[in-house]
Point group: C2
Chain length 342, copies 2
DNA sequence: CCTTTAGATTTACACGCGTAAATAAATTAT
DNA sequence: ATAATTTATTTACGCGTGTAAATCTAAAGG
């Protein structure tokens, strides 16, 4: 086995491959002939060599790092997406760098800042939305290729992929109206997420299309602790008996989870059918929505599609002989998940 | 404002500070005199300079990076801990690098591998536990300072900080036995998490201490989808009516969440008091356990203490003039959180 | 005031790899 | 087989910083 190989120079001499060729290989394994590739791979196996990460990236025109910024990793929804994206990035031969903004715009900016110093090939960003420091985001996206997902911010990044809230909320309203009381819409008065505004608008338009009167249940509260907000304001709402026998569509599953908890405490039975007091539905198909009591009827976002499209677009931009292209935007349709709560 | 400053050399000439001094400053701001520190900080502000990350780390004996590896970021419990630790690491002047093993031992090894190439000052590792490739972990921990948290693996790392399962489960068993039917213990037959074994043993010993007969409800299933396992095996259990009017202590909250969902579907009312069919308790104070229906009685681990201690021990090791010290282990006590389910 | 000393500067080299240009070797096409 | 083409090698320099040693400067102490 011999001594430990520490530099590419040493590795070149023991493997019998010249250093520049090795350098090419480590930048892109496909760029060398198959026979030499195999020889190199065997030598790597044998000597357990890997190039110095820092020296390697110092003079590269483009690193192989892709930043991945989500608004809040504590939210299992984003954790799931992040996982999916990480997987796709690794499969493409890049290495992901996961950062969470923990709900704070300062941290979002700080994350982009620390990413800048890492000179990433590109960044996949799910922005905080309304809370975001738009100017800083825009500045950043001019310096490094940026693709937005989940939430859109006008003029930031070269592409956006997200869910078609209009379609999905329309679908849900339609379903709820066909199967019982038409839904009221439960949301925060000043939501942080731009999707929330789209969903509100989609709800109103869907109701009007059906000739029904929209009714918004707007509650106070800020921050990202949606369950708590749903719970506390739900308790207040349910003291008022006018909302019994109602159908409530929540702007997202986390609000719905809090609301269901409040309904339970208020002695209201949630579910669809004659023997229940209340129907509650959500949006996002949160990992836990399957296990609420009762299980939550919701909308599943097509995050496989969003993830794949985001990453493939990113790679296209990185390889980019494209020059100045239009900012692409695409919305993917959601799927109705009928469970017990509505 | 002038042109953009790109190198430390340029920054040295415009700031009037010599390059070696700047280098010292960027390595440790406290290592230069206060007056020069202020001058440098003003210049940084003015010229928006920051050193090249890669060039900077290439020749440093120790980088300022600390790896942070958790078994599964999709689990909000670990997401929360990771967040806490990230915060502490940043506060200490280091930058965290968060990696998730997504429940897989291969990925755990891969994570450590990619950390190795980054030459971190240290690594905080919550190992998968039984599934872990112990040899690789041990090899790794010999190369880079490693502190374990959450789950212990014999002989790996220079310290371990976790929860005192014996104490916490004892506390819970005591509480449950005093207030109703003595608890049965619900768990996976072959759990992946080493804590699960400790909790099982703790349950048995706590029951025996009270002169009660331990009863284990061991269910099949593997992987990390605890809610699903709790749910499907819960359904089977509740078809059998012998478990009605029982008290069930779950090995962790996620199993409990699944189990409560199964109880709900089976028409069993969970809660403490005469009018309820079943009591269910968990362990961990999972972020969602507050919002289950009914809210879940559980044990809250002292993760503030665990986090702070893990990071401070890490820093001590990094600064380390310590030489060969004993492997430190410390368990922190859990707190009983009495809610509605038991 | 001089001495001591912590801290800054000057100088110079090292780090491990990227990359370019010229050349040589291997492969493929004719 | 020879020419054309692709791929690898040789050589050499550059990247932006860390760091060591010697020297100089300024603050602190008496």
């Amino acid at each position: 086995m011999g001594r430990k190989i520490n530099t590419m120079e040493e590795f070149a001499s023991v493997s019998g491959i010249s250093r520049p060729t090795l350098s090419k290989f480590f930048n892109d394994a496909q760029s060398v002939k198959k026979s030499t590739r195999l020889k190199i791979e065997q030598a790597i196996e044998k000597y357990d060599y890997r190039p110095n990460f820092y020296a390697m990236n110092q003079n590269r025109r483009k690193t192989k790092n892709i930043g991945l910024v989500v608004p809040n990793l504590t939210d299992p929804f984003f954790a799931g997406i992040a996982r999916k994206l990480e997987e796709l990035i690794v499969l493409s031969g890049y290495n992901p760098l996961l950062l969470s903004s923990h709900g704070g715009p300062e941290l979002e900016v700080a994350n982009l800042d620390s990413l800048r110093s890492i000179k990433p090939a590109g960044v996949l960003l799910a922005p905080l939305g309304r809370a975001s420091n738009v100017k800083k985001l825009k500045d950043f996206s001019q310096l490094v290729p940026t693709v937005l997902f989940d939430a859109n911010v006008d003029g930031v990044g070269e592409a956006f992929f997200g869910s078609d809230n209009h379609q999905s909320i329309g679908l849900m309203v339609d379903y709820l109206a066909r199967t019982g009381e038409p839904p009221k819409f439960f949301e925060m008065k000043d939501p942080i997420n731009p999707n929330a505004y789209k969903r509100r608008a989609a709800y109103i338009s869907a109701m009007e299309k059906l000739g029904l009167e929209p009714e918004l249940l707007q509650v106070n509260g800020d921050g990202w602790n949606f369950e708590e907000i749903g719970f506390t304001s739900g308790r207040q709402i349910f003291q008022n008996s006018t909302h019994r026998r109602a159908t409530i569509l929540c702007s997202n599953d986390r609000l719905a989870i809090g609301l269901m908890s409040a309904a339970y405490e208020s002695g209201l039975k949630v579910g669809h059918g004659a023997e229940f007091d209340l129907r509650i539905a959500g949006h996002d198909d949160h990992p836990f929505s399957r296990y609420t009591c009762p299980s939550l009827t919701t909308i599943s976002q097509d995050y496989d599609a969003i993830g794949e499209r985001s990453v493939s677009e990113m790679l296209k931009i990185i390889d980019g002989a494209n020059g100045i292209t239009e900012r692409t935007e695409k919305l993917f349709e959601g799927r109705l998940v009928m469970r017990s709560s509505a």
